[in-house]
């Protein structure tokens, strides 16, 4: 299957090509106050306001740190974007080489000497509770 690779730090994840609308380099992100950590913010895609999610936080493996690229996805619930730290590339994923353990993933594919984990977008991006975790909006602590 055709896919787009999302480098996240030292790891590589993949999303089906048919879900990808475009890739935006260095998006200008507006912080969304009171949103949970997995929401990095909002950016303007030619007049549409698109939420940008922290791919690592969605998977529960930390945070992406710098956002160099946003992979814009067309979901049944509108546009959404996943953060990537390196240049997303188009590849052909062939035989699945193993299962993946992280929730929100489908399986692992071999890419030369590397392994790409295919994301389950329907499970990761659900209305009202992206990632299925960390959905609660934490209240900040007062200074005192």
């Amino acid at each position: 299957m055709e896919a787009v690779l999302l480098p996240v730090g030292a790891e590589v994840y993949a999303v089906p090509m048919e879900s990808v609308r475009e890739v935006v380099a260095d998006p200008l992100i507006t912080t969304l106050a009171t949103a949970p950590r997995l929401v990095l913010g909002l950016f303007n895609l030619r007049g549409q306001i698109v939420p940008l999610f922290d791919t690592a936080a969605l998977l529960g493996i930390g945070a992406v740190g710098a956002v160099n690229f946003a992979v814009v996805l067309q979901t049944p619930h509108g546009l959404a974007a996943l953060a990537a730290t390196g240049l997303p590339q188009r590849v052909l994923l062939e035989t699945m080489t193993g299962v993946s353990e992280l929730p929100g993933t489908i399986g692992a594919y071999r890419l030369g000497r590397r392994v790409a984990v295919l994301l389950d977008l329907a499970a990761l991006l659900t209305p009202g509770s992206p990632g299925g975790r960390d959905r609660d909006v934490a209240l900040p602590e007062g200074p005192g």
Partner: protein
Amino acid sequence: MAALTVQQIQTLFGQEAEARLTRLNQLLLELEGAAQDEGLIRSVFREFHSLKGSSAVAGLDEVSLLAHELEGLVEDLRCGRRQVTPDVIDRLLAGVDRLGVVIAGSSGDGGDVGTVPPRIVITEAAPHREAHSTVGVTSPQRGGPARSLIPATPPVPTRHPPLGTPRADATDAAAGGAVMVQMERLDELVGLLGEAAAAHLRVGRMLKDRFGVDPASCAEFNELSRSVNVLQDRVMRTRMVPVGTITDQLHRAVRDIARTQGKDIRWQVEGSDTEMDRGVLNQLSDSLLHLVRNAVDHGIESPDERAGNKAAQGTIRLHARQLGSEVIIAVSDDGRGINTQLVRERATRLGIDTADLSGDETLQLIFRSGLSTTAFVTDVSGRGVGLDVVKTNIEAARGRIEIHSELGSGTEFRIVVPITLAVLRCLVVEAGGHRFALPFHRVVLSQAHDPSRVTEADGRAMVWVDDQPVTVSTLVHTLGISDNGPSVGPIVVLTDTARRHAFQVDRLVGQRDVVLKGLSRLLPHLPAVAGASIEPDGSIFVVLDPPGLIGRARQLKRAIVPPPRPDSRHGPRRRILVVDDALTVRELQRSILQRAGFDVRVAIDGLQALSKLADEPVDLVLTDIEMPNMDGFALTTAIRAHSTLSNIPVLILSSRSSEADRQRGLDVGADGYIIKSGFDESDLLAAVNRLLGATA
């Protein structure tokens, strides 16, 4: 062309009948006040006659028969065999109601007339009708001889059609050339136009970034800009309907209840041609109905009570007018007024401390849940809801309601709403390096953070606002964003339906009309965020939701706001004297200026203004021209001639738009002249700030 099916014919008839029944209601109410008007009688006859014919074509025999009987009754009037009396009007109105019920039960699509998709009539000439009419004093005659289909009893007040949808007068509109348009098509147009406008801005940016062309120097781009702006204006206007589209139904409610209660009431409408967004008017209609029913039921006294003290005939007045980007609709009566002592007693019984409340503050209590329903609701006026619901509904339309009442003289409710919901006027603030928009209708005022006004109670910091303690939080802490140390910025006081809460921000940026966009459904629900908006430069700012923000602040761990450092940038509040004899204008200006952080005094004419200035000078005078005792020109002349007041800036705000008046204003020494018809909040504040030498 294929012939229409019976169902299609009946659906068409449903649409036609809706317009004709609305028209009949209007005509009959007019006829009651002009019984000898043969033209009106002929018009009523024509409407029934047309309904009879159309319903027969649609195969609705029961409707046709009923219309025929009503037509016969009007024929008696036309030939002089019967006189126009309140009883006859009762029967005809009841017949119209009955027709509505029968048609609703027999429409071809299985639904009723009310289920026809909402639509709007676009016409070049808005109906303009100033209504003055009188409701009969005699008690209704019940139980008269019944005819087969026409009810002989007067209409029961609670039975007439609900006000849910403002209706357009199809007959009037047809004369001006009109076409029915489904509301969702207009909504779609507004949405598409918003996208086109955004794309237009992007093209301008692209011209500059990629080709190094200044879009302002490109004739084609400027032409496109003009066209997009005009198109936006015109499309917005298609959504506008005159207030008059619902006043007939209000008139009907007043008339029916007055007849039932044996009261003699004059119904007066001014400004019925004032236009506003159909959606806003729709949201207000039930509240207005509630207020006029309240006025008849509780406001206007019985004829016995009025005897000797007042004119026998009571008056209920609806006055609509546009002021800047808002529409003000006042419903007033010359009845008994609200007894604040009674309100205090009832509030005390509910455990509310009223000891320190002023008269005005006591009046505000009637909008509280519980109090409003126990004290001011009956089956007639309240329909089970209280003024708290009215207030909530008006706030949902981004508006506010004010009340003024004088015992023995009457009560006025004043509803102030934005003309349209398509754009949201916001106060833009900066906090923690981010910009946020706060919907203006939730902003009570903004003011410098004055340390002397801060106190601590119940583990929270409080500031004094209008002599009431209000909890204050910092916006950055409430939103959980990092800050740059203790802020010395101003405080913005926000309100939800029940509470006020102050938020300290880093600075006020200004006002902005915002096209609010909802956030992605993929995001979790964020109660403190209403949506976001895209700036012309493509950046995004977040629009906060004050009720959610207040709720979030109250959940926060209690923490005292650090006292601000003294800062020379924030001096005492600037004082402005507003001089206008019109209460509505005066209060609106006071509201705008107070929200912008000014300390506002008011005077009702030039003489009173001079007296107040002698007691306490101000930093600026904002005055109308036409006023009793001393007009604005004379006031300005007097200020300029005064030894100690002569340097106070004077800004004239007048409905006089001639160049001669403007010149005269400048000649007598005014520093600025704003015309009321084109008056805009931001223009006013910009002019005030300019004259005060303030920076945003």
